[in-house]
């Protein structure tokens, strides 16, 4: 198409389309960075699926045990870390006991990063939470869905020791926790495989345990069928999901702050698609008429 017209004088649209892509890159950089400097709080609309995850945790009575599986790595930190922090704030506010684990080697580390952040809060400091009693980090075990499957028989089989090398039997929180029968909810933050889909297939469908999740935006749409069937209580999708969770919790945090940037970036992308298509169609029309 283009080759035939190379000699012709370029129209405005053609010139516009052939601008250096670095100019487009600059647009995006500005669209994302500048709004960060404004503390604009936006009203975050809450989706029913995010409400589902929030309710699943909110409805647990104090003292309930939540198994939190952190299945992501730093690559997805901007999307999932705000959820992780909001989750810990939520759990500790409601006096839930949290058992942390990870199917991704980096996952339990991400949990530690989130904990460090959450422990700065005054009201959580006041609770003087203790490792081994209020929360425990079992660390990572390799084996993907096989780990989930085996934990259905016994946690100890997959995690004989916690992340620090203490045998599970010596951890007060783990006393009486043998398998999924003894936890009230699984909360899963996932960025791919293994992740929420595997938790649904191997834990929910086999051992009949309740599951709520937070996912990266890329894979959240694939979880909707599971929410509709009830295999999954709810799903938080991407940074927006984190912002929704923070809004529901009433503790606006980083995700809410980032939403302004996100909104501007989306608008810029939509604008690019519109301009690009206008150019495409007007060039095509001109060619047809000439």
């Amino acid at each position: 198409m283009n080759q035939e017209n190379n000699q012709e004088v370029k129209s405005i649209w053609e010139k516009l389309l052939s601008i250096d892509r670095r100019i487009i890159f600059l647009f995006i950089a500005v669209a994302v960075a500048v709004p960060l400097f404004f503390k604009l709080s936006m009203r975050i609309p809450v989706t029913p699926v995010a409400q589902g995850t929030y309710q699943a945790i909110e409805s647990l009575p104090a003292g309930s045990k939540v198994l939190a599986s952190f299945d992501y790595d730093p690559g997805s930190m901007p999307e999932l870390q705000p959820m992780a922090e909001a989750f810990f704030r939520h759990a500790f506010r409601n006096d839930l006991k949290v058992i942390i684990m990870g199917l991704w080697p980096q996952g339990p580390l991400q949990a530690n990063i989130a904990l460090e952040e959450v422990f700065q809060d005054e009201d959580i400091k006041a609770k003087s939470l203790q490792y081994g009693i209020d929360y425990v980090n079992l660390g990572f075990t390799a084996g993907n869905e096989v780990v989930i499957d085996r934990m259905g028989h016994s946690f100890e089989e997959s995690y004989p020791k916690d992340g620090q090398g203490t045998p599970l039997s010596e951890i007060p929180l783990m006393r009486g926790v043998r398998n999924y029968d003894n936890v009230d909810l699984i909360f899963n933050l996932s960025a791919g495989y293994p992740g929420t889909q595997e938790w649904v297939q191997y834990a929910v469908d086999v051992f009949h345990v309740k599951l709520a999740a937070g996912n990266t935006a890329v894979q959240a749409p694939a979880m909707y069928p599971y929410v509709q069937t009830g295999q999954l209580s709810g799903v938080l999708g991407g940074m927006k999901g984190g912002a929704e969770y923070e809004t529901l919790l009433g503790i606006p945090g980083r995700a809410v702050r980032y939403m302004f940037s996100q909104a501007v970036a989306h608008a810029v992308i939509c604008m690019f698609i519109i301009i690009g298509n206008l150019a495409f169609f007007s060039i095509r029309k001109r060619k047809k008429t000439s």
């Binding site: 029968d181 469908d205 890329v218």
Partner: protein, 415 residues
């Protein structure tokens, strides 16, 4: 290739091997006789009223290391004095021996699954075929009362998980479909597969390249040679290469995996031979670029800008590079035909290329072009399974609309 019957005998002997040797071997460890404990009960009237009818029995559908305890709630649970807080489950190996606490459930619940470990070394080991006695202790802030001791019960393994019948049926139906069609295809019967838009466009695209005197670029993706998508792509490549040989159009294949490159060279060489033009085959056009994702993209984009290929094929496993490749190709004005089973990348291909083979269509295209009995057979099997699913959907929706509950129960999978 071996003769047709050999895989049947192989499968048969494997089944025999697994079933007979392992199955019988285990039979010595686990006796099969099953006996359900009977109910027992009178109750003592003490505040809070003790639970009654404590029954222990083997927990179903496991391998014999768990017991199920069921009781009738205390009369004061949710009624009467309404002071019940929780139930404690205690176990002993003799009716008047020492009872140890096994678990705790909140008020209102009347079952507990006492799961033990299956390794002898484990402190929590629960041996199968050993009798245990249970009692349930109802607690209300500090005071408690015990139920009577249950009749003995023992755990044993089951031979069949009764909740999985629907799944077993599905396994059997699907395997039958697939095996029947593979056999039919091997007998040489033609199996129909509908034409696919992206594949129909191949000839036209190659013709266009010949007219313009430009090469064709074929990208096999980032996948390794054993991925289904890559294998499917090799089959399509073989057909495309045969056409380019006939039209005498050069085909460029930069690869990002050395093994993929080797297979691609073999495939193309064979295709040129088949087309009767072995001398036109140029090995140097099929080469290894680099295995780093972005470096590979940069390399391929360079080729697109320099060579301005008439047609680009992107068939195989693609990740984030999909949009980078499709963008450059579209700017270079090439016709683009794409296909991948990596669902997250399909939107970008649909938006930026001319034809896209969506997920399964890629496999279908390879079966369509390759006519390999195994692939054709399993694809047919999948189609029939899909037809069955569609029939169930329609019947199910009608049943649900008119409230025929029995139909839903067919799909019951016990969790």
């Amino acid at each position: 290739m071996k003769d047709k019957d050999s895989h049947w005998t192989r499968v048969l002997s494997l089944f025999l091997f697994v079933f007979v040797s392992l199955f019988l071997g285990m039979q010595t460890c686990l006796a099969q006789e099953a006996e359900q404990a009977e109910a027992l009960q009178d109750s003592l009237a003490q505040p809070p009223a003790p639970p009654t009818n404590v029954v222990a029995k083997d927990a179903p559908n496991d391998n014999g290391h768990a017991l199920l305890v069921i009781w009738t709630l205390s009369a004061d649970d949710g009624a009467g004095q309404n002071n019940v807080v929780s139930y404690q489950i205690l176990r002993s190996d003799s009716p008047d021996g020492e009872f140890e606490v096994r678990g705790l459930v909140p008020a209102g619940e009347n079952t507990y699954k006492d799961k033990g470990a299956k390794e002898k070394e484990d402190a929590n080991y629960l041996p199968p075929h050993k009798d245990f006695y249970y009692k349930v202790r109802v607690r209300s802030d500090g005071i408690f009362s015990d139920s009577e001791v249950s009749l003995p019960a023992h755990a044993y393994g089951q031979w069949y998980h009764t909740g999985k019948t629907a799944v077993l049926l599905a396994v059997l139906i699907f395997s039958t479909f697939a095996l029947v069609f593979i056999t039919v295809a091997r007998k040489g019967k033609k199996l129909y597969i509908r034409p696919l838009a992206g594949i129909e466009a191949v000839d036209e695209a190659i013709g266009r390249a010949t007219e313009m005197g430009k090469p064709i670029l074929y990208i096999l993706g980032l996948g390794s040679a054993d991925m289904i998508a890559t294998i499917a792509s090799f089959t399509i490549l073989s057909r495309v290469a045969k056409k380019t040989a006939e039209y005498q159009t050069p085909i460029l294949i930069p690869c990002c995996d050395p093994i993929v490159m080797a297979v691609a060279q073999e495939t193309v060489r064979a295709a040129y031979l088949e087309a009767g033009r072995p001398d036109d085959y140029k090995q140097e056009n099929i080469y290894y670029l680099t295995s780093m994702q972005f470096a590979y993209v940069a390399g391929v984009n360079g080729i697109m800008i320099r060579e301005k290929p008439a047609t680009n094929f992107y068939l195989g496993k693609f990740y984030a590079e999909s949009l980078l490749l499709a963008e450059t190709g579209s700017l270079a004005g090439s016709i683009q035909i794409s296909g991948t089973d990596e669902i997250a990348q399909i939107p970008f291909f649909v938006a930026a290329t001319d034809y896209t083979l969506i997920g399964e269509e890629l496999y279908a295209a390879s079966a369509y072009l390759g006519r390999e009995p195994v692939l054709l057979g399993t694809l047919k099997g999948q189609d029939w399974a899909k037809a069955l699913v569609m029939i169930f959907l329609i019947l199910g929706a009608l049943a649900a609309t008119f409230h025929f509950q029995f139909f839903l129960n067919l799909f019951k999978v016990q969790l």
